[in-house]
C-alpha cells in the first residue's frame, strides 16, 4: 500500500449509482443484547452517507463489523460487487476500509508519523522499517490535507485535540482508503475544528471515497451528507437521499415518535450569588479566572477546544490541586482538596471524558449511580442495597435510560446511555452547584432534550448550573450568561440577551469584531 497512490486522484470513478460497499442481512448479538438485526447499508463512491439512530441503536457495532473488529453472526458484505469477509482489522485495511472510531484510537507515546503509518509502514529492501520514507510520506499526507503545520516527528501527546483528529484522518488517508468511516468525529470538537473537518470531507468526496458519517447533530448531517440510513433498536428503518427528507421525518423514523427539540422556555428567576471565584490561577493552564454564579442560573462556558475550561472546573471541584485564588460558596470560602471535599460542600463536577472519568466500567449501573452518594445510601459504612436501587431507579428513569436491568454492567451500554449514567450519578448527590462539562456530548436528540429539560427543572428548583459546552446552539439555547475563555483566560462575559453566534465564535478565536 503506497501513499503516493492518492495523488493519482479520481482513478476510476464508477457510476455513483453502483454502491462501493454493500452490507446485507447483518445481525450481531452480545450476551443478552441484540445489537443488530438483519440490517443493510450501502455506501456510494463520492458520497457521504449519514448513519442516524438513537444511542444504542447499533451504529458503532456496525462500524466495528465493517472494520473487521467484530464478526457478524449473519449477513454478507460486498465491495464493488465482490463478496468479501473481514476477519480482522488488517483484512479491512486490505480492502481499503478505514475508520475514525468513536473512542480515541491513537497512540499517545508514538510520533505523528508512526501513528499515521502503524501497521503499514514503508519498508526498505531488507524488510525493515524505512523511517526516512515514512516521515516523508507522513509530511506529504498532512500537506495534502492542509495540515502541514503538524510536525510529523512530534509525539502525539504534545498535540492539541483538534490536531489529533487531523492525524486520525491522515491515517485514514494514508491507507489509500476507498471507504472512510467516521463515528461521531465532531463530538469533541468546537465550531472551528468542525469547519476544518468538513473541508476535509469535501476533499475526500472529491477524491471519490465512499464515506459513512455518524453524528447526532442534524445541522451537520444536513450540511455534509448526501444520503441517510436510519437505525432503530438494531434494525434498519429507512434510507434515502437527504435532500428528500425533512428533519422531523428522520427523527420520527429513529425514535418512533416525534421529538421537536426546542430548548426549554425558562422563567429565569435568578437569585443571590451562590458561588464566587476570583483570581483562580494555575502555573500553566489558566490565569486569573473570576466569575460569579447565582442561584437559579445557568452559566455557559464557551471556548475553542483546549481553551482550559475543563481545567478551571476541575480546579473548582478540587480535582486539580495546584490552583491559587479563592472560591466562595454561599459566603463561606472553601478550599476543596479532592472531589470528595467538593461533593460534600455541594459542588459537583460532571466530567467530559465519559469512559475515563465518568463511568466505572465493571460495576453495575446501580452501583455507578450510587458511587458519589455512598455516604448517603449507606449507614455507618454499611451498604443498603434497597436505597441504592431506589436512587438509581429514580434518576435513570428520569433520563430515559435504555438498559435491561440495573444490575447490568455499564460497559455493555452504548455510548449515549453511558453518558446518561454519568449525569445521573452526579445529580443523585443533590448538589447546590452542578458543573456539567460537555453534558450532551454524543447523546441522541431525544435524550438531549431530556437532559436539557432536566437542567431547566433543576435551576427552577433553585440549583445553580455551570455548563461547559462547545456546541453553540446549546450554549445559546440554555445559558443565562456566557463566559468565553481563550487560552486559559476569560476573554469576555456576555448576557445571553445581547448574544449572537458570531460574537461568541469571534471572541473565542480571538478575532476582533
Amino acid at each position: 500500500m503506497d501513499t503516493t497512490a492518492q495523488h493519482s486522484t479520481v482513478r476510476e470513478r464508477p457510476q455513483a449509482s453502483t454502491p462501493r460497499l454493500t452490507l446485507s442481512g447483518i445481525s450481531k448479538s452480545f450476551p443478552g443484547v441484540r445489537a443488530l438485526h438483519d440490517v443493510s447499508l450501502s455506501l456510494y463512491p463520492g458520497q457521504v452517507t449519514a448513519l442516524i439512530g438513537e444511542n444504542g441503536a447499533g451504529k458503532s457495532t456496525l462500524v466495528k463489523i465493517m472494520t473487521g473488529i467484530y464478526q457478524p453472526d449473519a449477513g454478507a458484505i460486498s465491495i464493488d460487487g465482490q463478496a468479501v469477509t473481514l476477519p480482522s482489522a488488517h483484512a479491512a485495511f486490505g480492502h481499503g476500509i478505514t475508520a475514525i472510531h468513536q473512542e480515541t484510537v491513537l497512540f499517545d507515546d508514538l510520533s505523528v508519523a508512526e501513528n499515521i503509518f502503524l501497521g503499514h509502514a514503508p519498508r526498505t529492501r531488507f524488510k525493515t522499517i524505512d523511517w526516512r520514507t515514512m516521515r516523508k510520506n507522513a509530511k506529504e499526507v498532512l500537506d495534502t490535507m492542509g495540515a502541514g503545520h503538524i510536525d510529523a516527528d512530534a509525539r502525539l501527546k504534545d498535540l492539541g485535540i483538534a490536531n489529533k483528529h487531523l492525524v486520525a484522518v491522515a491515517r485514514a488517508m494514508s491507507i489509500d482508503a476507498r471507504i472512510v468511516i467516521m463515528d461521531e468525529p465532531t463530538a469533541a470538537l468546537s465550531m472551528k475544528e468542525i469547519e476544518e473537518l468538513f473541508l476535509l470531507i469535501e476533499f475526500l468526496k472529491s477524491e471519490g471515497k465512499a464515506i459513512l458519517f455518524i453524528s447526532h447533530k442534524f445541522d451537520e448531517i444536513y450540511r455534509i451528507a448526501d444520503r441517510y440510513t436510519v437505525f432503530r433498536d438494531g434494525e434498519m428503518v429507512g434510507e434515502g437521499m437527504i435532500k428528500d427528507a425533512g428533519q422531523s421525518q428522520i427523527v420520527r423514523m429513529m425514535v418512533g415518535r416525534s421529538v421537536d427539540h426546542i430548548f426549554p422556555q425558562r422563567q429565569a428567576a435568578i437569585g443571590a450569588t451562590v458561588l464566587t471565584v476570583s483570581g483562580l490561577s494555575h502555573p500553566t493552564e489558566f490565569d486569573d479566572i473570576g466569575f460569579e454564579l447565582h442561584r437559579g442560573e445557568i452559566l455557559g462556558f464557551y471556548g475553542l477546544v483546549g481553551a482550559g475550561r475543563s481545567e478551571v472546573m476541575q480546579a473548582i471541584s478540587g480535582i486539580t490541586r495546584t490552583a491559587k485564588g479563592t472560591i466562595t460558596l454561599e459566603g463561606k470560602p472553601i478550599a476543596p482538596k479532592s472531589a470528595a471535599d467538593s461533593i460534600e460542600a455541594g459542588i459537583v463536577y460532571v466530567p467530559e471524558e465519559r469512559g475515563k472519568q465518568g463511568v466505572v466500567i465493571g460495576l453495575p449501573i446501580f452501583q455507578n449511580v450510587s458511587l458519589p452518594s455512598l455516604t448517603r445510601t449507606s449507614k455507618s459504612g454499611i451498604l443498603r442495597l434497597a436505597e441504592e436501587f431506589a436512587l438509581a431507579r429514580a434518576f435513570t428513569e428520569r433520563l430515559d435510560l435504555r438498559a435491561s436491568s440495573l444490575s447490568q454492567d455499564v460497559g455493555t451500554l452504548s455510548g449515549g446511555n453511558q453518558q446518561k449514567i454519568v449525569i445521573a450519578k452526579w445529580l443523585a448527590t443533590a448538589p447546590k452547584v452542578i458543573i456539567l462539562d460537555e453534558p450532551t456530548k454524543g447523546i441522541d436528540i431525544g435524550s438531549k432534550a431530556a437532559v436539557h429539560g432536566f437542567m431547566a427543572e433543576l435551576v427552577a428548583q433553585g440549583l445553580s448550573v455551570i455548563m461547559v459546552s462547545s456546541e453553540l446552539p446549546e450554549i445559546l439555547g440554555m445559558s443565562d450568561r456566557v463566559v468565553v475563555m481563550r487560552e486559559g483566560r476569560i476573554a469576555s462575559v456576555y448576557d445571553n440577551k445581547e448574544l449572537d453566534a458570531e460574537t461568541l465564535v469571534r471572541t473565542a478565536a480571538g478575532i476582533a469584531a
Binding site: 450476551p31 443478552g32 415518535r257 416525534s258 421529538v259 421537536d260 427539540h261 426546542i262 426549554p264 480535582i319 479532592s338 472531589a339 470528595a340 467538593s342 461533593i343 460534600e344 463536577y349 466530567p351 475515563k356 472519568q357 465518568g358 463511568v359 466505572v360 466500567i361 465493571g362 460495576l363 449501573i365 446501580f366 452501583q367 458511587l371 458519589p372 455512598l374 455516604t375 445510601t377 449507606s378 459504612g381 454499611i382 451498604l383 436501587f389 431507579r393 435513570t396 428513569e397 428520569r398 430515559d400 435510560l401 435504555r402 438498559a403 435491561s404 436491568s405 440495573l406 444490575s407 447490568q408 450519578k425 448527590t429 431525544g446 432534550a449 431530556a450 429539560g453
Partner: protein, 331 residues
C-alpha cells in the same frame, strides 16, 4: 417540548438462569475442594483423622491471613510483593524485644506495629510518589529483609516466653487451633468489609476505574494507603503467628510466602487486573492449597512435584470457565 412517553421501567435485576449460579467461580472451587478431599481420603488412610485435619490447617492459615488483605489490595489494582519480607522484619524486631526482656503483650504489639509501619511505608511510596506498586514492593522486599539481615546477621533470636507459644501452637478447643480461629474470624471480617460496606464498594470502584472513582468523590489515595497498611498489618499478625510457631527468628523466615499468598488470591478468583473478586473464593482457595499440599505430603510426594500440581491447578482452574464459556458460546 417533547411529548414524553412514560419512562421505560428498568428492573433491578434479571432472573439469572440457574446455570450461571452453578458455574460461578466459588461453585467451581467448592467442587474442586470436595474432589481433592475425596481423593485424599481414598489415597491415604491417615487423612481422615481429626489431628491430621487440624495439622493440615497450619499449612495455609498464616498465608491466608495475608491473602485476605492482599485480595483487597489486588482488587483495588495494586499488589504487595513485600509481605514475606515484612514478616521477617517484624519477627526480627520481636526478637530484639525478647532480647531486651519484653513480655508477650509487648511482643505482639511490636509485631503488629512493625507490620503496619512497613505497610504504611509501601503505601506512602505508592500513593504519594505515584509509583507502580509492583516495582515499589520489589524494592521494599529487599529493603525490609535486608534490614532484618543487617540486624541479625548470622544470628538467631530465640527464648520467646512460653506464653508466646500459644499464638502459633496453641489450641482453643480440642483440635481447633488458635490460628484456625483467627483465620475464621479474619475471613468473616474481610468478607463483611469487602462485600457489605461502602469501603469495600469503593475498593471495587477503584479497581475498575480509579480516575472515575476519584471524580466520584472516592478518596483513592487514602483508600489505597489504608489497603497497604492493612496488608502490612496482616503480615505483622502472620509474623506473630509464625514466630510463635517456630519459636525463633532468622532473617530468612517466611521466604517465598508472597508468591503463595498471591497464588491463593488468584486461585480464589480475584482478578489480577483488579476490580473483581470475593473473599469466599480466597477462603476456598486457601483450603484447596492446604488440601493439595497436605494430601500430597501424606503420599510423600516431593515438595517440588507438589508445586507442579499447584501451578497446574492455578492455570486449569482459571482456564476452565473460559473454555466452558467458549464451548457454550460456540466460539
Amino acid at each position: 417540548m417533547t411529548d414524553t412517553p412514560a419512562p421505560r421501567h428498568i428492573p433491578d435485576r434479571l432472573d439469572k438462569p440457574l446455570s450461571s449460579a452453578i458455574f460461578s467461580w466459588e461453585a467451581l472451587l467448592v467442587v474442586v475442594a470436595i474432589a481433592i478431599f475425596a481423593i485424599n481420603s481414598f489415597a491415604s488412610p491417615y487423612f481422615l483423622d481429626p489431628w491430621s485435619l487440624s495439622d493440615l490447617t497450619f499449612n495455609f492459615t498464616e498465608k491466608a491471613l495475608i491473602a485476605f488483605a492482599m485480595a483487597l489490595l489486588i482488587i483495588s489494582g495494586e499488589i504487595d510483593l513485600s509481605v514475606a519480607a515484612i514478616i521477617a522484619l517484624a519477627s526480627t524486631m520481636m526478637g530484639m524485644a525478647v532480647q531486651a526482656g519484653a513480655g508477650t503483650p509487648v511482643l505482639v504489639a511490636i509485631g503488629i506495629l512493625v507490620g503496619l509501619g512497613c505497610g504504611a511505608f509501601n503505601g506512602l511510596l505508592v500513593t504519594r510518589l505515584g509509583l507502580p506498586s509492583i516495582v515499589v514492593t520489589i524494592g521494599t522486599m529487599s529493603l525490609f529483609r535486608g534490614i532484618a539481615f543487617i540486624i541479625l546477621g548470622d544470628q538467631a533470636y530465640k527464648g520467646y516466653p512460653a506464653s508466646f507459644a500459644f499464638f502459633g501452637q496453641g489450641y482453643v478447643w480440642w483440635v481447633v487451633s488458635f490460628e484456625l480461629v483467627l483465620f475464621a474470624v479474619a475471613a468473616i471480617i474481610y468478607w463483611f468489609v469487602l462485600h457489605r460496606t461502602s469501603f469495600g464498594r469503593r475498593v471495587f470502584a477503584i479497581g475498575n476505574n480509579s480516575i472515575a472513582a476519584q471524580f466520584s468523590g472516592v478518596r483513592v489515595d487514602r483508600i489505597k494507603f489504608i489497603l497497604f497498611c492493612l496488608t502490612g498489618l496482616m503480615s505483622g499478625i502472620a509474623s506473630v503467628l509464625i514466630t510463635s510457631r517456630l519459636g525463633s527468628t532468622r532473617p530468612s523466615i517466611a521466604q517465598g510466602y508472597e508468591l503463595e499468598a498471591i497464588t491463593m488470591v488468584v486461585l480464589g478468583g480475584v482478578s489480577i487486573l483488579g476490580g473483581a473478586g470475593s473473599i469466599l473464593g480466597v477462603v476456598l482457595a486457601a483450603f484447596i492449597m492446604g488440601l493439595v499440599t497436605f494430601g500430597l505430603g501424606l503420599l510423600n510426594v516431593p515438595g517440588i512435584v507438589m508445586s507442579i500440581f499447584i501451578g497446574l491447578l492455578l492455570i486449569i482452574v482459571i482456564a476452565l470457565p473460559i473454555l466452558w464459556r467458549r464451548l457454550r458460546g460456540g466460539r
